[in-house]
């Protein structure tokens, strides 16, 4: 365990040291490139006055709800498309066209329609998560070996049994690959929504820091976002390790 994380510790240390030396030696002012120490001080302050936990909780809520909604819809629609060629023919032009519009471009619209509260962010987040999970669900379900369907049918298995005993486990590796991409994108979705207009959340904090030339605060917000993305990525990896042991 210690051995595994040694390279990570070393690279983090080198990064911080390089950053610190850069701010000391270059003379770049603190409001453009703050030193690691001033970011750390700002972090402690934001923790103490409760602002960072508060805004992080808001953003995390948006992300989690967005993921739940996006992944649920993507899985259901993806499964239906994988099972029905005719449905795919009808729907896929719309799905592909929808991907040609960057979510960033319609985020302001969604905020106008759904308000500047949490709902618009959840929807933006869900939209951005939807596509990678959808595509991977389709690919995963399509790749289920037909021989396993034959096996289940020869045993007179029910549709539900085929779903639970064959389709879910067989498509899980590809599905989780999509979820991994989706989880990382979900952070972007929430922030995009908050940057358009919000009264709270890490995106709001980031913008506030920007307006007030509180650059250390911007850094704190950015690092918190990175931490959230890493955490979500890590959770998916844990799921993969848990459920895909049979692969390697």
């Amino acid at each position: 365990m210690i051995k595994r994380f040694t390279p990570l510790f070393l690279s983090t240390f080198a990064f911080l040291l390089g950053w610190d030396l850069l701010t000391r030696l270059s003379g770049i002012p603190n409001f453009i490139l703050p030193s690691p120490l001033s970011v750390w001080t700002r972090f402690l302050k934001a923790m103490n006055d409760g602002s960072l936990p508060h805004h992080t909780a808001i953003t995390l809520t948006e992300i989690v709800l967005g993921l739940i909604v996006g992944v649920t819809f993507a899985t259901i629609v993806g499964y239906m498309l994988a099972k029905s060629r005719s449905l795919e023919k009808v729907l896929s032009p719309y799905l592909v066209a929808s991907q040609a519009i960057p979510v960033i471009a319609i985020a302001p619209l969604l905020v106008i329609w759904l308000g500047d509260g949490i709902l618009s962010k959840v929807v933006i987040c869900a939209l951005i998560v939807f596509f990678p999970v959808l595509v991977n669900t389709i690919v995963g379900v399509r790749a289920v070996p037909t021989a396993l369907y034959d096996l289940m049918n020869s045993l007179h298995a029910s549709r539900a049994q085929i779903l639970m005993k064959v389709e879910v486990p067989a498509s899980l590796p590809v599905f989780l690959g999509g979820l991994r991409i989706g989880a990382t994108l979900s952070v972007i979705g929430a922030i995009v929504g908050e940057l358009v207009d919000a009264e709270s959340g890490l995106g709001f904090l980031l913008q506030l820091g920007d307006f007030q030339y509180d650059t250390p605060m911007v850094f704190v917000a950015v690092f918190t976002l990175i931490a959230l993305a890493l955490m979500l990525y890590g959770i998916v990896r844990v799921l993969e390790n848990r459920f895909l042991k049979w692969q390697n």
Partner: protein, 248 residues
């Protein structure tokens, strides 16, 4: 045989759609199978042997003709496919247990039966291995155990030993004929080995080149249990010659 047939096949034909009038895989197949009979189906590749088993297992409908089972109801079927068709995410035990799960047998009873099967096919010590760690012969034995575990009325075996080396194959013949005698099963087994069919079967059906028709229906009145040496008897030689003549 005095019993009523367990399976009656009448004028069965199978045509697969293609660009010039359909591909005729089977043409006008009729035969009966009696309870506890071991029938081998022999024929050149492409003569529709696999198609015949798939129709009997209910995986595809015949183009014309019909087949009925003894008491009129769909019998439970144990099928061994040309490839072992194991679920890579399930251990040996879990793969063998699958038919019992489909039947919703309670866990304790299923465990007990599975252990018996493990013993029977000589896989003790490999209970928790994954398919990727099994040799071809072991994987095929798992598939055979899985086909037997739910005590099916009818065993459908599609060249189950084709992928094995000669030595393992001959050991499997002995094992299969033991299992067949101990469990009193009705077996329809596809093979393209004359030796294999004479070693195991009560009766051999020879199919013609595509479209498959029944060319010969030959009883195998060799004494049981059949040991290795039976291959050097004159009776065996005579039957082998007859089959070879029918296959050309």
């Amino acid at each position: 045989m005095p019993h009523t047939p367990i399976l009656t096949i009448r004028n069965l034909s199978a045509v697969f759609p293609n660009d010039n009038g359909g591909l005729h895989a089977l043409e006008n197949i009729s035969f009966k199978v009696h309870p506890r009979e071991f029938v081998c189906v022999l024929g050149p590749s492409g003569s529709g042997k696999t198609t015949l088993l798939r129709i009997l297992a209910g995986l595809i409908p015949p183009t014309s003709g019909s087949f009925t089972f003894g008491r009129g109801e769909q019998p439970s079927i144990g099928m061994v496919f040309q490839q072992a068709t194991l679920m890579p995410w399930r251990t040996v035990v879990e793969n063998i247990k699958l038919p019992l799960e489909v039947e919703k047998m309670d866990e304790a009873a299923a465990r007990k039966k599975t252990n018996e099967m493990i013993e029977l096919v000589g896989l003790k010590g490999f209970e928790d291995s994954l398919p990727r760690d099994l040799s071809g012969g072991m994987a095929q034995r798992v598939a055979i155990a899985r086909a037997l575990i739910h005590d099916p009325d009818l065993l459908l075996l599609d060249e189950p030993f084709a992928s094995l080396d000669a030595l393992t194959r001959e050991r499997m013949w002995t094992e299969l004929s033991h299992i067949w005698q101990a469990r009193q099963k009705t077996v329809i087994m596809v093979t393209h080995s004359i030796n294999e069919s004479l070693f195991l079967a009560d009766r051999v059906l020879v199919l013609t080149q595509r479209p498959g028709k029944i060319k010969m229906d030959m009883p195998v009145d060799l004494p049981r249990p059949r040991k290795d040496e039976i291959r050097y008897t004159s009776q065996f030689g005579k039957l082998a010659k007859k089959l070879r003549g029918a296959i050309e």
